[in-house]
Amino acid sequence: MIFTPLISKPDSVSAIMLKVLLALLPGIAMYVWYFGPAILVSITLASITALSTEALMLKLRRRPIAPFLKDNSALLTAWLLALSIPPLAPWWLVVVGTAFAIAIAKQLYGGLGNNPFNPAMVGYAVLIISFPMQMTHWLAPQGLVLTELSFTQQLDYIFQGVLPHSVTLDALTMATPLDTLKTHLHLDESVQQILNMTIYGQIGGHGSEMAAWGFLFGGLYLLAARIISWHIPVAYLGTLFVIAGIFHLVDPTHYVAPLFHWFSGAAILGAFFILTDPVSSPTTNKGRLIFAAGAAFLTYMIRTFGGFPDGVAFATLLMNISVPLIVLYTQPKVFGKKDKS
C-alpha cells in the first residue's frame, strides 16, 4: 500500500544528529588547542561505549540494531557527556557515565524519542554524585602550570592510572574557573581580586572561554540551519544575563559579571546543544521560553548558592521533569479557534 503524501523532504534523524555533531567541532577544536588532545581520547572512548551499549540494549529489547546505531543520537549523547567530564579522567569514569546514560536514561525509557531526561546530563549527574573527586581534576590550560604531560603520558594515566615519577595529579590539574571563583569567594576575596588569577582570561576562564566561543559559533550554525529554534538559547542566555546582571549591579564584589556566566562552565553548550535536545524539551515555542528561563534561573542559583561547581546539568534535569506540564499549559491556539468568541 502506498500512502500520500508520496513525496517527502530529503531529511532524516541521522542527518539532523550529524549536523549537531558537526556543530560541536569548532568548540572541540578550541578545546584541543588550549587543553591538548586528551579530550579526543574521552570522546572516542565515550563514542565506542555509547554505540556498544546501544547495540547491546537494542538486542536485549529485541529491536532492530542497525537503523538505530546509524541515527547518530548515541554519538551525540557520548560527545556531550565527554565534553562535560575532565579530559584527564580515568577511562572507567567515561565508560560508566556513558553506559549509564545510554542504558538507563535512554534505552530503559524506550530508546530514541522516549527519554524524558537528557541522557548526557543524567550520565553527568551520576558521575558527579558518585565520583566527585575524579570529576574535579580538570586539566589546566597549556602553558599555565609548570608540569605538563605528553600525550603518551596522558594515555598512561587515563588507561593505567600511572603518572610519571615525582609528578602529582594536583600539579597537573585544577578546579574549574567557576569552582575556583566560588572557593575564593568563600575566603572573602573580592571578585576583582579573584579574576586577576592566571586561570582567568578576558571574559571567563582562560582557554575554556575560547571553547565557549567555539560552541557559540556552532550553535549559531544550528540556528542558521534551522536545526534548533531561537527560543531556548535566547531565553536561556537572556535570563542568565538578566539575573546575573541584577546581582552584579547590586554587589559587584561578590557577584561576578553576567558575561562571565555566559562564557564559563557549560552555559553556551547548554543553551545551544543540551537544553535544545528536542526529545526532552518542550514542543511549544512559549513552553521553550519558560523552560529555558527556568533552566537559567536554576543554573544561576546552583552556581552561586549551591554546592556543585556548575548548575547546567541539574538545571536541565529539573526542567526536563516539568516539560509535560509546561507543554500542557502553553498549547497554541488552533486555526479557527483564535477568536475569544
Binding site: 500520500t4 503524501p5 513525496i7 523532504k9 531529511d11 514542543t283 477568536d339
Partner: protein, 526 residues
C-alpha cells in the same frame, strides 16, 4: 494593491508543473466505451432514469438527483446504454459502485440545449438549473454547487474563485485559466449574481503568471469589477480555509462554514461549468485532466466523464517502468486500485508513478519531537502530539487537541525527518472516533427504547391493576345488589356467562395439551 495575510506553516515541495503546461489542452478522442458512475458527487447517489438498451443523446439526463445534497448525471455522448450495474470506481475503499455503461454511436448528437440569461431567473430557479445540469465543485470534493448557493439569510461579502492549485504536478486549473478565462469570468459573474456578493476575488498562486494575465485580460474585456490576486506559492494555499485567510484575513471558525463569515469559495473550473450550464445549456459532461508523472507526453486533456483511465494514460504514453497511478496530486491524492476505472467529475489529475519518481518511503523512525511538523502545520496543530495520541489510542485526548481541525494536507508527513506516515494515523484516529460515536448513538437509542419498554410494562401493569380494582368494586356493588332476588332473565344471563367461561377454559386446556404433545413429537422427531 491588496494587503495579503498569511497562514501559519505550509511547505514548498518541488512543483513539477511545467512538464504538463508546455502544450495546450487536447481533446481526448471518443473512447469505445464509457462507464458513468451515478455517484460522482458528495451526498446522495443519483437515481437511474434510463434502462438498459435505451438509446441516449449527448447531455441526456440518466441519473436524477435524489435528496437535498445530490446532483444530476448525464450521458456524456450519444449512444446505447448496455448495462447498469456495479463497477469498480476510483474510491480508496476499492468498492464497486452503480454505473451506467454507454457504448457511443460516434455521432455525438446533442439533446436540445436551452441557454438562459441568468438575470431573468430567480435564485431558486438558477439553483435548480445547476442541480439538474450536474454542476459540482471541480476542486476535488465534488460538492453540489447549488447547495453551496443556498445560503439562506446570510450576507455574502466576498466571493472567492479558487485558482490557487497548490498541489504539485496538477495543472488543469492553470491551463483552463490560460485558455478559457473568459468563460471562468462569466461564470464567476453568475455566481456573484446568485450570491449577491459585494466583491469577487480570484486567488491564484504567483507561479501561474500566464493564468493571472489571462484572467485580468478577460475581466478587462468584460468590463467587470473582479480582482485577481496573486498569492504566494505555499502548499496548501489552495485549501479553502487557508485561501480565505490569505485573501481576507478572516479565519473560518472551527466547525463553521465560510458562509458564516460572509465568504463563499468556488473553484475556477466550477465557475467555468456554471457558465457552460447557464449560458450554453450544457450539463457537466467533461472536464480537464492533467496526465503527468512517469509519462512521455505530460499534457492536459479534456475528457468525457466516464472515459476509462487506462485510455487516458495511453494518450500520455506511460513509460515502461510505471508501477502505479495516483488520482489527484502527490500530497493528497489516492492511489488508484486499478486503471480500469472511469474519469469522474472529481478527477483532476492522473500521475503515473515509478520507483524512480516516487521512491519507497524510508522506514519510519521514532518521533524525536523536533516539531518540524508544528512549523509546517497550516492548522496550527501539534502534529507530534496527535500522532502520539493516535498511536496510543487515546482518542479523547486527540479530540481535545483538535484532531478534527486537521485538514489532512500532509505537510507534516512531508517534513518529518523520521518519515512517519502521520496523516494515516490521523485518518485512523478520526475513523475510530466516528465509529465509536456511531456505536454510542446506537447504544443510546437502544437504551431509550429499553427504558420506554420498561415504562410501558409498568404502565400496563398499573392499568391492569386499576381495571381489576374497578372490576372488584363492581362485583362488590353487584353483591350488594344481589341481596335483591335476581330476575329470571338475569339468572339466564349468568348461566350463559358461566357456560361460556367453562368453554373457554376447556379450549385453553386442550390447546395447552396439544402444544405439549406437539413439543414431545417434535422432540422425538429430532
Amino acid at each position: 494593491m491588496r494587503k495579503l495575510n498569511h497562514f501559519h506553516g505550509g511547505i514548498h515541495p518541488p512543483s513539477n508543473k511545467t512538464q504538463s503546461t508546455q502544450v495546450a489542452i487536447a481533446h481526448a478522442p471518443l473512447p469505445s466505451k464509457l462507464i458513468v458512475p451515478f455517484h460522482q458527487h458528495a451526498g446522495e447517489i443519483a437515481k437511474p432514469v434510463v434502462q438498459v438498451g435505451d438509446h441516449v443523446l449527448k447531455g441526456q439526463l440518466i441519473g436524477m438527483p435524489d435528496g437535498f445534497v445530490s446532483s444530476a448525471v448525464h450521458a456524456p455522448t450519444s449512444g446505447t446504454i448496455t448495462a447498469i450495474d456495479l463497477q469498480l470506481i476510483a474510491h480508496p475503499s476499492g468498492l464497486p459502485n452503480l454505473c451506467a455503461t454507454l457504448i457511443p454511436d460516434g455521432k455525438d448528437e446533442w439533446v436540445e440545449r436551452k441557454a438562459v440569461d441568468y438575470r431573468d431567473h430567480s435564485q431558486p430557479e438558477l439553483q435548480q438549473l445547476l442541480r439538474m445540469n450536474g454542476v459540482v465543485g471541480l476542486g476535488g470534493a465534488a460538492f453540489p454547487s447549488d447547495v453551496k448557493l443556498r445560503i439562506g439569510k446570510q450576507k455574502i461579502k466576498t466571493l472567492i474563485l479558487n485558482g490557487a492549485e497548490c498541489e504539485p504536478y496538477i495543472t488543469c486549473d492553470d491551463m483552463l485559466m490560460r485558455e478559457r478565462a473568459n468563460e471562468i469570468v462569466q461564470g464567476a459573474q453568475m455566481l456573484r449574481f446568485m450570491l449577491d456578493a459585494d466583491e469577487v476575488l480570484y486567488g491564484v498562486e504567483d507561479n501561474k503568471p500566464e493564468a493571472i494575465a489571462a484572467l485580468q485580460q478577460a475581466i478587462k474585456e468584460s468590463n467587470l469589477n473582479h480582482d485577481v490576486v496573486a498569492i504566494p506559492t505555499v502548499y496548501p494555499g489552495g485549501s479553502a480555509k487557508q485561501l480565505i485567510r490569505v485573501l481576507t484575513g478572516l479565519e473560518v471558525p472551527s466547525g463553521k462554514l465560510p458562509t458564516d463569515i460572509g465568504v463563499q469559495c468556488f473553484n475556477v473550473a466550477t465557475a467555468y461549468s456554471v457558465c457552460r450550464a447557464l449560458a450554453h445549456g450544457e450539463p457537466l459532461l467533461s472536464r480537464i485532466i492533467t496526465i503527468t508523472g512517469n509519462v512521455r507526453r505530460a499534457q492536459n486533456f479534456e475528457a468525457l466523464i466516464g472515459t476509462p483511465i487506462d485510455y487516458l494514460v495511453a494518450l500520455g504514453e506511460a513509460l515502461s517502468d510505471t508501477d502505479g497511478y495516483i488520482m489527484g496530486g502527490p500530497m493528497m491524492g489516492i492511489p488508484l486500485p486499478s486503471v480500469h476505472v472511469p474519469v469522474v467529475k472529481a478527477t483532476n489529475c492522473i500521475i503515473a508513478t515509478s520507483a524512480k519518481l516516487f521512491p519507497q518511503p524510508q522506514p519510519s523512525m521514532p518521533c524525536i519531537r523536533c516539531t518540524r511538523c508544528v512549523e509546517a502545520c497550516p492548522a496550527d496543530l501539534q502534529p507530534q502530539d496527535l500522532y502520539w495520541f493516535a498511536q496510543s489510542k487515546e482518542f479523547g485526548k486527540a479530540q481535545k487537541f483538535s484532531l478534527f481541525d486537521c485538514i489532512e494536507c500532509g505537510a507534516c508527513s512531508y517534513v518529518c525527518p523520521s518519515h512517519i506516515p502521520l496523516v494515516q494515523y490521523y485518518r485512523f484516529a478520526k475513523s475510530e472516533i466516528r465509529a465509536r460515536e456511531h456505536d454510542k448513538q446506537l447504544a443510546d437509542q437502544a437504551r431509550v427504547r429499553h427504558e420506554f419498554r420498561e415504562h410501558r410494562f409498568e404502565r400496563e401493569k398499573q392499568e391492569k391493576a386499576d381495571k381489576l380494582a374497578a372490576r372488584e368494586a363492581a362485583a362488590q356493588a353487584a353483591k350488594l345488589a344481589s341481596t335483591q332476588p335476581l330476575t329470571p332473565q338475569q339468572l339466564a344471563e349468568q348461566a350463559d356467562l358461566e357456560a361460556r367461561r367453562e368453554h373457554i377454559r376447556e379450549v385453553a386446556q386442550s390447546s395447552v395439551e396439544n402444544t405439549a404433545v406437539e413439543n414431545t413429537t417434535e422432540r422425538t422427531g429430532n
